[in-house]
Symmetry: C2
Subunit: 367 residues, 2 copies
């Protein structure tokens, strides 16, 4: 079940198969009709070698959340002498905004922008040489100016001045299991969005919407045709069980966690060494599936243990290795310092360079 | 609300107050009647500067789960020229067991032991120079030999031979909110445990039980009096909301996450930059409390966002900083590469050196 993975790999270990990443990127490009409407979120993959496949597929625009993700992407682009256009889709302030300003100064050939939802921070970001995207609240009140608050939106745009580069509208709260219902809700939001940005006179700027659950709906929305519109899915690059549950088809799971059977208390039970510190557990139970072994049912994990129920077949053997597909891949990748990359039948360990958060004043040394 | 913390600290940032750690260690020592009955779990704190306070309080026996925790503790002890007695409370195998063997060889003056629940691995651990603790299943089938399976228990003890150092019985599944009910259930288990180990002729060896929810009950159990018994709580060193909910009193929250208000979509809402990648979210909602601000109700986090409901008072201000006490501190600490340690009114950044997992063959370079 862990074919081709070396026995001297300690577990739990994050495994990334680059051929599947490449296939997922190609499928994403195909659905978007090319790279122009794509601004994939880098939060999921966090590994420069994975991001390089996005660049190789012709994608130059992307999105991230943390200053570390921004720092790692800019370093990668610099090393490859490539121009990128990075939206840090977060309204960073204070020490975090100062860090982004330092990154912009250190990478003058790159486009680096940040979200804003109030005038003071928009002005500070613009003064620091950053582009500004006006963040608009789709209605779940996670972030952004409410669409109805035209006065605040105008003040932010004015404060950003010529640095104003676009509008950001993240409808990630739409997670209905039925794709048709998701599409309907998303389209209603897009219609409100467009009437707002047109009324504000911002309709000619770039508009960024949509993570994995609704990017297909956004690409199909007639109102975005002919506009500078981009979608920003992240999870599809590695895919996971939760995306499959939402009916997001055509992508393959590219990330697994290699684990070892460390306990067989009884014939119907076994425990793996991949607990909540190796595989996200906030997504509910089961938080993963065992590759090729549907008869093994993952139960609630504790910090370093994942118990399984053996529904059929013989007991598991102590020391046996199994691969697990996470239900939610983004926080799973974030738990790992290193990943075992498999490409062309060979493997190597690389840092998950963009995991975690920078904590100033000095940035964390490279791993 | 974030008094004394420097403005140039980027957020989210893990903050550890060493005076509170010291008070928690002193309280733990007091309840145990001295250091002899303590083998605290290192998984919670993961920071050598915090572990040093355990050593300074005279504790020499401790427990951990991962090879990285073991490596970091042995390095700390070596640097301080102190002898420690470390139980890696996990039945590591294969590459992981080889790593523990290498650690034992590199630190010949230290005691290093591992769990075993089947003969082959017990023999391998003993041959590698490791001590062996027989793992016994308290009945939740997470790990260990079932108490009734005397044959397997005897085989493991025989395979370990002179390396057999003790028995491990982790009743962490007992988490009833009522402390008296927890005590009753724990005592029932201890009685079964003692009759088993006595029947196996292992009653003179060290017996390790109990995390934070039941360590008080274990210390009070009459059957353990006069035995070589130790408890292994971990969470109490830093304390958290979940331990408070279990009625574990007398300890102070020593770990918080410093965060920044990055969004105020409406007057009754605000969003902090401390999402599920900065504060454990597997523990349910709310996953934290805002220090000194009971009128702010944390809602369900997403990866980088923590929305709050403002139940009373004026709206929060953009850029305002708030400290959060995690509901479950162990996985929260594990999310952070560095911590801001506060001691004697001054602060400094240190690595959370024991976070995450080693992935062989070569160990991760030091951070």
């Amino acid at each position: 079940m862990a074919a081709g993975l070396p026995e001297d790999l300690a577990t739990p270990a994050l495994v990334i198969r680059l051929d599947r990443v490449r296939a997922n990127v190609a499928e994403l490009r195909r659905r978007a009709g090319g790279p122009e409407r794509l601004r994939p979120h880098l939060k999921t993959s966090k590994i420069p070698e994975v991001w390089a496949l996005l660049l190789e597929a012709g994608l130059r625009a992307c999105k991230c959340a943390t200053t570390r993700e921004a720092a790692v992407l800019l370093e990668l682009a610099g090393r490859r002498s490539e121009r990128v256009d990075l939206l840090v889709a977060f309204a960073h302030r204070g020490a975090n905004l100062a860090r982004l300003a330092a990154l912009a100064a250190a990478h003058p050939g790159q486009r680096l922008a940040v979200l804003a939802e109030e005038p003071e921070q928009a002005a500070a970001a613009a003064a620091a040489g950053l582009g500004v995207f006006l963040d608009l609240d789709p209605g779940d009140h996670r972030s952004g100016v409410p669409l109805a608050d035209r006065q605040r939106a105008r003040a932010v745009a004015a404060a950003a001045g010529p640095a104003l580069a676009g509008c950001h509208f993240y409808e990630g709260g739409i997670r209905d299991a039925d794709p048709e219902r998701r599409r309907r809700r998303a389209w209603e939001g897009y219609a409100r969005l467009l009437s707002t940005v047109d009324e504000l006179g911002l309709g000619g700027l770039e508009i960024v919407t949509s993570g994995t659950p609704t990017f297909d709906a956004a690409l199909a929305f007639p109102g975005f045709a002919g506009r500078r519109h981009r979608v920003s899915p992240g999870t599809v690059i590695l895919h996971d069980l939760a995306s499959g549950e939402l009916g997001v088809a055509g992508f393959q799971p590219a990330a697994t966690v290699l684990s070892t059977v460390i306990s067989v208390p009884t014939a119907g039970r076994a425990t793996l060494d991949a607990g909540a510190k190796a595989l996200d557990a906030a997504c509910g139970v089961p938080n993963c599936a065992v590759v090729g072994r549907p008869e093994l049912e993952p139960l609630a994990p504790s910090e370093e243990h994942l118990p399984l129920r053996v529904l059929a077949g013989p007991p598991l053997r102590h020391g046996e290795r199994l691969e697990l597909v996470p239900r939610h891949v983004c926080p799973t990748v974030n738990l790992h310092d290193r990943a075992f990359l498999v490409a062309d039948g060979a493997g190597r360990l690389v840092p998950v360079a963009a995991r975690g958060h920078e904590v100033g004043p000095d940035p964390l040394p490279a791993r």
